[in-house]
């Protein structure tokens, strides 16, 4: 499974949806994920990929970790993984 597919799977579980019902353009809000659900999703991503995600719920838009859409999250995870390989 690609990084994007793994991220979608995590978010689908959190949103209680089938993976095919989660689109890359969706924001977490559109999928019905609230602030606690977001924090739990990030925790699940950290566990899945073995990474540390820089995210402070007080500054969700700080740009450190882009959470504006499912695709943005997948790209941000890929970036963290790429940085780790360097």
């Amino acid at each position: 499974m690609s990084v994007r597919e793994r991220v979608i799977k995590i978010i689908a579980v959190q949103a209680m949806l089938e993976t095919e019902d989660v689109s890359g353009e969706n924001s977490l809000e559109e999928l019905g994920i609230d602030s606690l659900g977001l924090v739990e999703s990030i925790f699940a991503i950290e566990e899945e990929f073995g990474i540390e995600v820089p995210f402070n719920a007080n500054e969700p838009d700080s740009g450190e970790f882009d959470i504006t859409s499912v695709d943005a999250i997948a790209r941000a995870v890929e970036a963290i993984l790429a940085e780790r390989r360097e």
Binding site: S35, L36, V39, E52, F55, N56, A57, N58, E59
Partner: protein, 402 residues
Amino acid sequence: MKRVAITGAGTINPLGYDVPGTLEAMREGRCGIGPLNVRDVERLSVRIGGQVKDYDEHAHFNRQQIALFDRFTQFALLAAEQAINQSGLEFSGALAAQSGVILGTSGGGLSTQDDNYRTVYEDGKNRVHPFVVPKLMNNSATSHLSMKWNLKGPSFTVATACASSNHAMGQAFHMIRSGMTKVMVTGGSEAMLCFGGVKAWEGLRVMSKDACRPFSATRNGMVQGEGAGVFVFEEMGRARKRGAEILAEVVGFAMTSDAADIVMPSRQGAARAITGAVGDARMDPSDIGYINAHGTGTAANDKTECAAVSDVFGAHADNLLISSTKSMHGHLIGGTSAVELLACIMAVRDGIIAPTIGYEEHDPECALDVVPNEARDAKIGTALSNAFAFGGLNAVLALRAV
């Protein structure tokens, strides 16, 4: 209905080892938050906190006591000794039977749990010290305080997360006001700054890694603190008759439940608690001059709290002063509103308003006079102390000058 006087106050917290030291630090806008000194700090992502500096338990307690007293119990006992000594009360006979202890805490003996889980899980030992249970239980501080001072009336511990101390002091107030008791020793204590305590908070992603800046547009989360505040609440007629020094009068208390969300604050729930406390004090909102805010420095709390204050006070919201002393001592969780009540006493008794330090930039969603960075002189008749806990449990106390 009886009136309720405060005739003693004590504390140990990141700003000082007693009330005068703490109030001096608040007047000077000193910050008690700094690098955390706890075991395995290098495995934490949040490495700052409001610790009680240079604290040596052996300077205050003997070996047998330390075996039974968790850090949160030690803090409560030290604060209570100051408060009761100031009150000049001795508890015996009928007075002892009509006096009790109600303290707030959230984590109780969390450091004791942390240490002993290490012992069995990390060190692989199959034996722990025999006093682990009486040391870690949430009512340990209350019980030791009752034993030390012979307080034989209604005594218990309240755990409502960040509102624990206000809920505890509210109960103490109600008991004296109703005539159920004569004197109550009340407040709260917390000592969660251990590896497990901070690690758990990290998970919520609401902690700041650099500073607590309530109401500032640049705020980025809360900072944990530790310590205790303990007060002697006494029936007013009794206190006057014996010529006790009265620090302030407790005039109102209200509590509400949001019944909405386990972590997000509610504007309506907070506003109902504030309105309730003002009404319970038989006052008008325009009588309130100062609010010690819950002011955690999170994005969600501060804007919600300011909106609630605006709802309750209308145009008067622009006249009153509101500050968060958590910017200086951090968030003492279950003990926080006890230490914050000291700022309310300073406001109504001394006419000095503790500042919100670390304030950098105006936030239109927190457009009140938050007393930025420097203490201010102001004649205040009545002050409120806000506490809004995780779980949506709100408690607000009202204090009046005597």
